[in-house]
């Protein structure tokens, strides 16, 4: 894609010319306790460059943020992406954003059901939190009746997947070079979306609709090679509903979607609680709890997640996150542990561990983590933040 090269060119030219530069450089090392199911290496490291430039004038803002990632093992994990390259114009009654950007929708913490504007970068991380930049024109109104955003999404980004040499991959080889589209416009289709959100005292709600190419593909078996599967991107209509109610230190949350266009219409939902205890045991530590359950019509069962966040409130912003994913039907469990803190004024360090366990191998239900069986890992990430 030609704009990739243009992006790289601008990335290294622009800092010399304009504005304020921030952003980050990071080094990431994942150590897997076992070799992969397909014989992949145990040690995977990558580095990421992601500078950011802001230029602000009266009633307009320019933001540019490229992202470059290089992985030592998995070519599919290499990335040249423009996360942000947009101009915002503030007009009398509305705000217009032109360009490439990221937009987040949703209220829940573990699974993001309604979030659909951007494609997910699953090669970066299997948790689905990392996204690719999406070209768009967004018109936004914010009045007493709430916040109303209209989107025209210009073109489509394919989902990234770990490659053959990557970890946390599917057993079948995904042929990302030959995706299929249901729309004749293929990846040039213009998609539309809107989202309205408002709050009423302690209640926060949002309603959204997306009409366009599904960010999440289905897979079809390749005609040429039976070991390969091909992503099929269909045209879908997805209506989303978000709800959050604050009851003291307790937040009650829910996200529900209804989607048509991928075989039968289906519903999926994530719902749960977030509760924060401030100053536990008369200390300055905070302890937050997250409990979220899932439902998806397409799956026989969906896992529930219980998580906790211990915040030290010290000068280094030390945090420890733990999470347990459990699927009742398949009797599988996944355990996450993540600790992070700031180092000096420039940097931060995080250590993350993930452990998958099938507590009952005789259970013959559909296994969610089957393909991650050998993928228990420890990950170290060192980030240097650009700035003065």
């Amino acid at each position: 894609m030609s704009y990739k090269y243009l992006g790289v060119f601008i990335a290294f030219l622009c800092p010399a010319l304009i504005g304020e530069i921030i952003g980050e450089y990071s080094l990431d090392n994942r150590y897997f306790f076992n070799s992969g199911m397909q014989g992949q290496e145990r040690n995977h490291s990558s580095f990421t460059l992601s500078p950011e430039i802001f230029l602000e004038e009266e009633n307009s803002i320019l933001h540019f943020k490229p992202k470059l990632r290089k992985d030592n093992e998995d070519n599919e994990r290499n990335l040249v992406d423009i996360q942000e390259l947009y101009l915002i114009n503030l007009l009398e009654d509305k705000e217009i954003k032109y360009g490439i950007s990221k937009e987040f929708w949703g209220v829940t913490e573990t699974t993001h059901r309604v979030d659909i504007i951007n494609q997910t970068d699953t090669a970066e991380s299997f948790d689905g939190e990392d996204k690719l930049g999406q070209p768009m024109v967004k018109v936004s109104f914010e009045e007493n009746w709430g916040l109303l955003d209209f989107y025209a999404l210009l073109g489509f980004r394919e989902r990234t997947y770990p490659g053959n040499d990557g970890r946390l991959r599917q057993p079948m080889i995904i042929d990302t070079d030959n995706p299929q589209y249901l729309s004749s416009a293929k990846n040039k289709r213009v998609d539309f979306a809107f989202r309205w959100s408002n709050y009423f005292d302690q209640l926060e709600i949002a309603i959204s609709h997306f009409s366009g190419t599904s960010r999440e593909p289905r897979f079809v078996v390749s005609n040429q090679n039976l070991k390969e599967i091909i992503p099929l991107y269909e045209v879908i209509d997805q209506t989303g509903f978000e709800f959050q109610y604050l009851l003291g230190s307790l937040a009650i949350k829910s996200e529900i979607i209804s989607r048509s266009g991928q075989r039968d219409r289906f519903t999926a939902a994530t719902y749960g609680f977030e509760y924060t205890q401030v100053g536990i045991l008369s200390s300055r530590l905070d302890l937050g709890w997250i409990l979220e359950a899932n439902h998806d019509d397409r799956l026989p069962s969906s896992p529930a997640v219980i998580g906790s966040r211990l915040t030290f409130n010290d000068i280094s912003d030390t945090q420890i996150l733990t999470g347990i994913i459990y699927d009742e039907r398949s009797e599988e469990i996944g355990i996450l542990l993540e600790a992070s803190r700031r180092l000096g004024v420039c940097c931060s360090l995080s250590i993350e561990g993930f452990y998958f366990d099938d507590t009952n191998e005789d259970n013959e239900e559909f296994k969610l983590f089957q393909s991650y069986k050998e993928d228990d890992f420890l990950r170290f990430e060192f980030i240097y933040y650009i700035g003065d």
């Binding site: 987040f104 949703g106 401030v278 004024v345």
Partner: protein, 262 residues
């Protein structure tokens, strides 16, 4: 008139007198609180740059920087946006607050890395702000309606004649059971506050220093110091580039503006 009756009447008189004197001290205290509040009214909008120095027991200093914008809302609490400038890893993180006079404040947190605006429970106000000795509550606006007042005396503090007022937070989620406030008699400015935690222990002392008068009516301390007596740490907040009346509107204090503020 029997002796018993006289006793009863005297008893009733005593109750009345003490309740009247209580009301007088409460009324006087409320009057002082209102006079103090007027030093902070009518500014329409304000903005400032803040530096927060966190000092540990050994005297090591770590700095944080924030930008702050505030809009006065008639008949309600103020709207404000605080944007973190440093440390670098939290640059662009911002908090939008709609303060209310009686009901709890509405607050949203913007996380630029996730591009997510998250409504946060303003009830969790007793926790530390940015790892400092200030709590979120110490940072929010001191609306008159949020406390009950009692005048407990007069005292000289740093050569200023001061009223000493006891104020009790009405919000059950406050981290404090009571506060002793020293307000000078000349300009009705808060000079010092003793903050008592939930166990009624004198946990922290907050000192307001170097007051400066803007536009002839708006008093702003250039320095606010918070000393924690329990852990021996302190935090100093310094204000720079204080500006009034920049022409902010409601539009500068919305979720969209929060995303633009970085």
């Amino acid at each position: 008139m029997s002796l018993l009756n006289v006793g009863k009447k005297f008893f009733i008189f005593c109750i009345l007198a003490s309740s009247i004197s209580y009301h007088i001290s409460a009324n006087k205290a409320l009057e002082i609180a209102i006079l103090n509040d007027q030093n902070n009214n009518g500014f329409i909008d304000s903005s400032s740059d803040m530096t927060m120095n966190l000092i540990n027991r050994k005297g090591d200093v770590v700095s944080r920087k924030l930008r702050f914008k505030r809009l006065e809302v008639p008949e309600d609490g103020d709207k404000s946006i605080a944007v973190f400038e440093s440390p670098r890893d939290v640059k662009g993180v911002a908090i939008l607050s709609y303060a209310h006079k009686v009901q709890s404040d509405d607050q949203w947190l913007y996380l630029p890395a996730l591009k997510r605006v998250k409504r946060i429970a303003s009830k969790n106000k007793s926790g530390p702000f940015l790892g400092s000795e200030f709590s979120f509550e110490d940072f929010s606006f001191q609306e008159v309606e949020k406390y009950e007042y009692k005048l407990i005396g007069e005292e000289d503090y740093l050569n200023l004649k001061c009223f000493v007022i006891e104020r009790t937070p009405l919000d059950p989620y406050s981290g404090y059971t009571k506060q002793l406030v020293w307000i000078d008699k000349e300009n009705y400015l808060i000079q010092k506050i003793h903050l008592f935690d939930r166990k009624s222990f004198h946990l922290k002392t907050q000192k307001f220093e170097e007051y400066k008068l803007y536009e002839g009516f708006f008093w702003q301390p250039q320095k606010i110091e918070m000393i924690n007596h329990q852990n021996g740490k302190s935090s100093i907040l310094l204000f720079e580039n204080v500006k009034l009346n920049s022409g902010f509107t409601d539009r500068d204090f919305t979720q969209n503006s929060l995303k633009r503020s970085r």
